[in-house]
């Protein structure tokens, strides 16, 4: 039955987790350490600006940001239940977590849609 939405949320969690596992280490290493510290030559503004105009890049960026946010939402929600034993606030926690992920995803979608 379609009614329990948990399987769908779990799929989002899995997809987000896989994307984060496969792509975040390299992106984080380059953008967060190698480029700022000058270990490797950072791409120029013009190059990046040109790159993001491409529709494939736009889709890539959306997937790269939106899915991991949902991965966080699902995982963090259960962490709050189990570690902090906040199960009695389950409704509020679910709304806050998935709501935040939705807000983030909407922002990404809006941004990539409106790239000049």
């Amino acid at each position: 039955m379609v009614r329990p939405i948990t399987p769908f949320l779990w799929v989002l969690f899995s997809a987000g987790g896989t994307i984060a596992a496969l792509l975040f280490p390299v992106h984080l290493f380059l953008s967060g350490l190698a480029f700022p510290l000058g270990w490797l030559e950072a791409p120029s503004y013009d190059f990046l600006h040109g790159l993001i105009k491409h529709p494939v890049t736009r889709l890539y960026l959306f997937v790269l940001i939106a899915f991991p946010l949902f991965h966080w939402a699902h995982r963090f929600r259960y962490t709050l239940y189990d570690v902090l034993q906040l199960k009695h606030l389950s409704g509020l926690i679910a709304v806050l977590c998935y709501g935040a992920a939705l807000a983030g995803s909407a922002t990404v979608a809006y941004t990539v849609w409106n790239i000049p």
Binding site: M1, V2, P4, T6, P7, F8, W10, V11, S14, R75, Y78, Y81, D82, Q85, K87
Partner: protein, 247 residues
């Protein structure tokens, strides 16, 4: 003086105390003894009032599960020499209500086990004249691992989710449901999926993985649960996109 080892055993006598208390016993240390042997020595020679469950003493009945030094173990498989010089802490199985001393109540699990219908269900039984159900070794291989479960409940004691939320259906019940779902003779996978997709079913599991670590029969309940999550998710999408094809 022959070597001895101390067993620090949790006692709980509801008629005389409201909280469990620790009691120390000095038992002979023999290289071939397991904790169960030590407990039986205590009951025979030192303190006949000690209550605990045991049966086969060889790791197939699942009766003698207890916490040994904080880890759920079958006491018939926990050698004293592994814990020497001790003291060895023996407590009742974690996350279950304690009835007396080392005896816990497992009605909750029995209820959950029944809920998942751990038996072959067919839409129509084959008539006797048609002979037995045939199964290839490969078909057997798909569920054999999960059939090794002896219901010892060590996995429940290792699962923090079960400890925090006793309504969680738990590793063994799900593994046993999978054992029947994957059996080629069974036709009730959909039925069990509805039961296990409920609020306290498989989706409560966060893959801590402790259940698989403590299982004495290598059932790998954590693996069973993750596989089942995939099946459940696939079914969810199928029923969404092809509602007519999921009868």
């Amino acid at each position: 003086m022959p070597p001895t080892v101390t067993l620090a055993v949790t006692r709980y006598r509801p008629e005389q105390e409201s909280e469990p208390a620790l009691q120390n016993y000095e038992v002979p240390f023999r290289k071939d003894w397991v904790v169960l042997d030590a407990l039986n020595y205590i009951k025979d020679r030192l303190d006949g009032s000690l209550s605990f469950r045991w049966s086969c003493r060889m790791g197939v009945c699942g009766s003698c599960g207890m916490m040994v030094n904080g880890s759920p173990k079958l006491t018939c498989a926990a050698f004293l020499s592994d814990y020497f010089p001790g003291p060895i802490h023996v407590e009742p199985l974690q996350y279950f209500p304690v009835v007396r001393d080392l005896v816990v109540d497992i009605t909750d699990f029995m209820r959950k086990l029944k809920k998942v219908k751990p038996w072959i269900i067919r839409k129509e039984e084959k008539p006797l004249a048609e002979g037995e159900y045939l199964q290839t070794p490969d078909q057997l291989d798909t569920y054999k691992q999960f059939s090794m479960c002896i219901n010892c409940l060590l996995c429940y004691s290792a699962c923090p989710i079960y400890g925090l939320e006793p309504s969680f259906i738990g590793p063994a019940a799900i593994a046993l449901a999978q054992r029947y779902n994957m059996d080629s003779r069974d036709e009730a996978a959909r039925e069990r999926l509805e039961i296990l997709s409920e609020h306290d079913g498989i989706w409560q599991c966060t893959f801590v993985g402790e259940c698989t670590k403590v299982c004495p029969k290598n059932v790998d309940p954590a693996g069973a649960i993750q596989q089942y999550k995939l099946t459940g998710a696939a079914h969810w999408f199928k029923s969404l996109l092809l509602p007519w094809g999921t009868k």
